[in-house]
């Protein structure tokens, strides 16, 4: 290593060689500050754009604005940066699951700009997922710069995500919990400490540049037992709304892919549809935080039917924005829809039991937000801590727990994975740390190949084969065609047992006559999980690996278990 570049390899410094926690904390602070800054930049840009476009909302053609924004966003992301579209968070989880958190440099800014174009012009989406992706990519690239290993890189990806969420919501605990519960899926002391520090760094950056304010401050709620009991009904409603939003987003995505037009045209169509909906129900436009504040304050004037319609309108607008190619996340729409659901439910309760002294409707709006976030992300702790922090409403924590827990459970009952993880689970790409799938994914057929088998030819006499047998340490003998080395079959020790004690057969029987030709073989490109499933299904303990008709070696459960254990020890040695 060159002396002048040693600062690029801090993990090799004697200070950090024995224990890298301090190193991760120090770099975590850098990552937290950078991701916090990214969040502030996006937040400020969004505010500026929304204010700038506000004056044009009165014109008849204003419905074209979200369309233009979404089209520009799509062109920027797919044609200029060639990023490959997506919501952001699933890509971060995928990278953590499969590639040790490796992410492209361009991801650290691409979603910031594209989501700004989409949301700033009125698209119904949130800036949180883009800043999570940006923060995670910043963490990943800083880890790459310092040549850190996979485990350290994954922690810094978590630091980036936590710093971003902490900064944008001024909510350090929510950032920490989101990062661990949703992104990493691994609660270890090694992760928690650097991520907590990064959350603090991200929050401090936000407070320094934007002031220390609670995003949705509210007056005190005096929640009574009937209110707490009523939250169960709200949780059911939130779960239904979460499922509706999930279903709409997927359905819209499928419909848009069928439209024979370039991606930016589809994004423009979706954006214009949002603009049209927004022409009648303006609260669906943008990230919608103004309406949340009004609902929490109890100042949302519209009646029950209009509020209920707003739930569907916002769901539809979000599906049009994200499903048709706009850029942004689902955090903010979840908060808006959740507060609409809470308000609808409160007004229903008041209509059915007018004599009851229900708590202020703002409280139910707040609980609805937690229900939607928990249902969509299937991450109850994130829902609870986020709402507690962004509203300062610790007095409703019991009801928050009920809503979050019930909503998550009901959503999980219908959808086995959250919106972020559904595709990853379906394609087998969600590999959480220390799970069977994760350990197996880090092993390959090449590593497990046993090449000390003795190959025999079909024309070999049994007598010659018995000579080979005496030198062998294995029970399997692959049979290859003489000259071409083509794999023909296999002889197991059990196959020759009937002839072994009959010397009269030694010069009569050929290997080709007793070999098993109906052998299940493995291709070297196959996944180990598939191979193991086949072995289990057929009750096999080993299988020959054959590529293009040529025998390469054997793969056995015994070797697999041995390597599996070693891999597991590597993955867990720092816990």
């Amino acid at each position: 290593m060159k002396r002048q570049r040693i600062w690029r390899f801090p993990a090799a410094w004697s200070l950090f060689r024995r224990d890298d926690r301090l190193l991760l904390i120090l770099i975590g602070v850098i990552v937290g500050v950078c991701s916090g800054l990214a969040a502030v930049v996006l937040n400020r840009s969004l505010v500026a754009m929304l204010e700038w476009f506000h004056g044009y909302r009165l014109y008849w053609w204003s419905f074209l604005l979200p369309g233009a924004g979404a089209a520009l966003s799509s062109l920027f992301l797919n044609n200029l940066l060639r990023e490959g579209a997506g919501h952001g968070v699933p890509e971060v989880i995928y990278s953590v699951s499969r590639y040790g958190g490796l992410m492209r440099m361009r991801s650290s800014f691409s979603r910031l700009i594209s989501s700004c174009l989409t949301i700033g012009t009125g698209g119904s989406a949130g800036p949180e997922a883009p800043v999570v992706m940006s923060g995670a990519a910043i963490g990943s690239n800083i880890a790459k710069f310092f040549s850190l290993n996979d485990r350290q890189r994954v922690t810094l990806v978590g630091c980036g995500a936590a710093g971003a969420i902490s900064s944008i919501f001024n909510a350090p605990i929510a950032g920490l919990v989101f990062s661990i519960e949703v992104i990493l899926g691994e609660w270890t002391a090694l992760n928690i400490i650097p991520i907590a520090i990064a959350s603090v760094a991200g929050t401090e950056v936000s407070r320094l540049l934007q002031g220390n304010r609670i995003p949705f401050a509210h007056r005190e709620f005096h929640i009574q037992l009937p209110d707490t009991l009523a939250t169960v009904g709200l949780a059911v409603l939130c779960a239904a709304a979460s499922l509706l939003l999930t279903w709409s987003l997927r359905r819209m995505g499928r419909i848009s892919r069928k439209v024979p037009a370039p991606q930016w045209v589809r994004a423009a169509i979706g954006g214009c549809a949002v603009g049209l909906i927004g022409g009648y129900i303006p609260v669906v436009l943008g990230e919608g935080y103004h309406s949340i504040q009004a609902m929490i304050d109890g100042a949302f004037q519209q009646g029950l039917l209009l509020v209920a319609a707003a739930v569907f309108a916002k769901t539809l607008a979000t599906a049009f924005t994200l499903g048709w190619g706009g850029s942004g996340g689902i955090f903010a729409p979840c908060l808006v829809i959740g507060s609409f659901v809470g308000l609808t439910y409160h007004r229903l309760l008041e209509a059915v039991w007018p004599a009851m002294n229900w708590v202020n409707e703002g409280c139910f709006a707040l609980l609805g937000m937690a229900g939607l976030i928990s249902g969509m992300l299937q991450a109850p702790l994130t829902g609870i801590f986020l709402i507690v922090e962004i509203t300062g409403g610790y007095e409703v924590v019991l009801s928050l727990i009920i809503v979050s827990a019930v909503s998550t459970t009901l959503c999980h009952y219908v959808e086995s994975a959250s919106f972020y993880m559904k595709d990853l689970v379906d394609s087998g790409h969600l590999l959480r740390p220390r799970t069977d799938a994760r350990v197996l994914s880090d092993l390959s057929v090449r590593e497990l190949l046993e090449t000390d088998c003795i190959c025999v030819h079909p024309n070999m006499l049994l007598r010659d084969f018995i000579d080979v047998l005496q030198q062998a340490r294995r029970n399997y003998f692959p049979v290859e065609e003489e000259g071409s080395n083509k794999f023909l079959g296999i002889i197991h020790l059990d196959d020759i047992r009937p002839y072994l004690f009959n010397p009269g057969m030694y010069d009569v029987v050929l290997v080709g006559q007793i070999m098993d030709t109906e052998v299940e073989t493995v291709d070297p490109q196959e996944d180990l999980q598939e191979i193991l499933s086949r072995m289990d299904a057929m009750r096999l303990f080993s299988m020959p690996v054959v590529s293009h008709g040529v025998f390469l070696g054997m793969i056995s459960k015994a070797t697999l278990l041995d390597r599996y254990r070693k891999e597991l020890m590597v993955q867990t040695q720092h816990l």
Partner: protein
């Protein structure tokens, strides 16, 4: 375990030349070609400490319906069995992940001038990043099919050059092709270069396999490149300095490939002698 060369097939006349070159390399060295017929113009390669997005130009999607048959026919003509790679993992729906555990990769030159595309009139930043990050050597083919008859190693004394020497010797041993070495000595004399090889226990290989070791004692490096046989496979190590040094001083790799049209086998700093 058989060795594999990863080749991105382009169903155009230029792609045909490149595939023929890859097939010739595979046949000579005893490597199996793994062909990828792209369905989208971009893919990701996740290396140990880097992720490289490769943006292909749209010619890679030309006549996709006949691509497989054409590729199979070309390989069959060369007597090489075709194997096709189908991505299993996707970062996004249009962004497949290509594994990085191949033994060789072919990065073609093309007539394109766009620096953001793979396969360039000059070696673009993407190919350079692949060379920097990969454990495998990268084969940059000549613009037209040109069977090579000998191996030429460019040896500058660096760690990468030592790896290039090892690879060149192995290619020469596998193919029986004669091996020559070329060095632009700079401030060092021949004995110092020999000491470097001695330190790596490669003196015996030098004596046994290298037919001639030519030192370019005076004149510029580019002028001497004319001495390299036109039908030699040039094996060289990438120095691997940063972007700024590349811009200021230029890349040696870039100079070599812009002066000679030979097939190049480039060894990066992370190359492990898997072959």
């Amino acid at each position: 375990m058989e060795l594999q060369l990863f080749h991105i097939f382009r169903n155009t006349p230029l792609g045909r030349e490149t595939l023929l070159q890859s097939a010739y390399f595979c046949k000579s060295v005893g490597v199996r070609p793994m062909l990828y017929i792209p369905k989208s113009t971009k893919f990701l390669m996740y290396f140990e400490n880097d992720v490289v997005q490769v943006d292909l130009d749209s010619s890679y999607l030309t006549a996709s319906e006949t691509a497989r048959a054409n590729a199979e026919m070309l390989l069959e003509q060369q007597g090489v069995a075709a194997e096709f790679f189908k991505p299993k993992h996707y970062t996004a729906s249009t962004l497949p992940d290509i594994p990085t555990d191949f033994d060789f990769m072919c990065c073609p030159r093309s007539i394109s001038d766009l620096s953001s595309k793979i396969g360039l009139g000059y070696i673009g930043p993407r190919v350079r990043r692949i060379v920097q990050a990969a454990r495998f050597p990268v084969l940059i083919t000549s613009p037209v099919y040109k069977p090579w008859k000998s191996v030429a190693i460019f040896f500058g004394g660096s760690v990468n050059a030592v790896n290039a020497f090892k690879l060149g010797v192995r290619v020469s041993r596998a193919t029986g092709a004669p091996l020559r070495m070329y060095t632009q000595p700079g401030n060092r004399d021949r004995s110092e270069y020999e000491r470097i090889l001695e330190g790596e226990n490669l003196m015996q290989e030098l004596k046994d396999r290298v037919e001639d070791w030519i030192f370019f004692d005076n004149g510029s490096f580019e002028d001497h490149l004319y001495d390299v046989p036109h039908d030699a496979l040039v094996v060289l190590g990438a120095y691997g300095h940063g972007l700024i040094k590349d811009i200021v001083f230029g890349s040696k790799m870039e100079k070599i490939q812009s002066v000679i049209s030979n097939n190049l086998l480039i060894v990066g700093p992370r190359y492990t002698a898997g072959y």
